[in-house]
Symmetry: C2
Subunit: 246 residues, 2 copies
DNA sequence: TACGGGAGTAGAACGGTGTTCGTTTCTGCT
DNA sequence: AGCAGAAACGAACACCGTTCTACTCCCGTA
């Protein structure tokens, strides 16, 4: 029996490398045979150019010069494709060797790399949030983060939960940024865009919003990167450490 | 000129109460006239019973015993409906009078109420994440949170960003829980369900995952509520305070 | 009192989505 | 050479959000 996409998907959550899948079928006539790798690559190209919203099975099929049904020989469904995407995305994250004296910056570094990868492919966080946490590639990143936090002298239980919280926040942050960017891109309505608009809007609020009016400057201050690092450091600084590291 | 849905939507981001919209048209023959309020109410009923994924314009129209097009006289589009939903959801959140001596528990309390509201309507966080932050009802909750944090003696700039981080985390957390629940509900594949399954799976990991294997117990420990309070407290405890409050 | 305009309702349809069915086409092996 | 079987594909299904257009009924005005 041949490896159906279903079996391949199940295997992706287990151990063991997947065999290179010998080529068969009428692919010799094609310029480029349809493989899972080719599907994922062109999917990434579409997302990078037009955003995750533009990634449909039909659009993907057109890019591969075939019909939509041809994809389902390699991919179970779109949810499976999403999983493949975030899998490859996580696979490209390089993890440092944990250094107890530099665990904070190492942690921030990995989170930042993760964020950059997510932002490079706008909207893909949506797929990441829906993905199962048992994927081997995502698990690899979690393992790396866990190693760093543990090296920092954080109690295992706290470290385990903290890693989850951090990754969840990175996902949510990138999703919010992507959504905001896409809303900004299609400036359909007279929507809020610039910081001045935001400030003026806050200032025009009724007196039921005293603090929002008073601190409008602070509420609208900072770039998304500033807010990202603020929150990441907020969570890291809150970690109680039993160990010796700085 | 009459208030079209577009105007009503724009007004929702400004000040001033909306007029009760006198009834006209052939609605006298209907048992229940179609109003924005009725639409939102039945939408919530659908979400509560079948989840946000089941909320479609057609499904909503059927529940209201009408056609899909009839809804568009009261709602601009589905995005607008989403905004109305999270608006009402936030409107039902009661905010305490800030008490500097109890600001931590007040903060946790509001976040927990917010979480409970989100979880009551599974998947609605997806709409909340996409919603514009300038909605008056969501702004009201932010104002309340900001007041509490400021009362706790936190520097305005830190408080402003912290409120954003907290609300974003609540959204992300509830979305993750909802997704996990729905995946658990439709146990299609041999998917991970129980904690024992998770433990066994982690134990079966290759030696490339030493920490994940070693601390599988910690990684799978705790309920979602435990993890929620852990992260919320993590962020709150990280807040540097200049003031005098506890 | 008669009437016309307009708001509310609704059916049908358009373009799009993910997915499946049945068939065709080609390959590697016997 | 012939065949089993895998890959590719065109057409179709069910569903989505949304729009077009016609219709119905109320109300203010003449």
């Amino acid at each position: 029996m041949s490896p159906t996409p279903q079996e391949r998907r199940a295997a992706r959550h287990q151990a063991g490398p997947d065999k290179p899948a010998v080529r068969r079928g009428p692919s010799g006539g094609r310029k480029k045979p349809i493989t899972v790798d080719a599907i994922v690559s062109t999917a990434f190209a579409i997302i990078e150019a037009e955003g995750y919203e533009a990634l449909t099975m039909r659009r993907l099929a057109v890019a591969l010069e075939t019909g939509p049904s041809s994809l389902y020989a390699h991919v179970v469904n779109k949810e499976d494709l999403d999983e493949l995407l975030i899998g490859r995305l996580c696979a490209e994250i390089e993890l440092p060797e944990p250094d107890p004296s530099r665990w904070r910056e190492q942690l921030v570094g990995v989170c930042t790399r993760l964020r950059d990868q997510y932002l490079r492919y706008p909207g893909i966080s949506r797929a990441a949030l829906a993905a199962a946490p048992s994927n081997l590639d995502t698990l690899r990143v979690s393992e790396g983060l866990l190693a760093i936090v543990l090296a920092g002298g954080v109690e295992p239980q706290v470290a385990a939960w903290a890693v989850d919280s951090l990754t969840l926040y990175v996902n949510a942050h990138t999703l919010e940024v992507s959504v905001a960017n896409s809303r900004l891109r299609r400036a359909d309505d007279g929507w809020v865009v610039s910081r001045d608009d935001m400030l003026r809007r806050f200032a025009a609020l009724p007196e039921t919003f005293p603090h929002t009016r008073r601190y409008a400057a602070q509420l609208t201050a900072g770039t998304t990167a500033d807010r990202f690092h603020f929150t990441i450091n907020l969570m890291i600084d809150g970690l109680p450490r039993t160990g010796q590291a700085t």
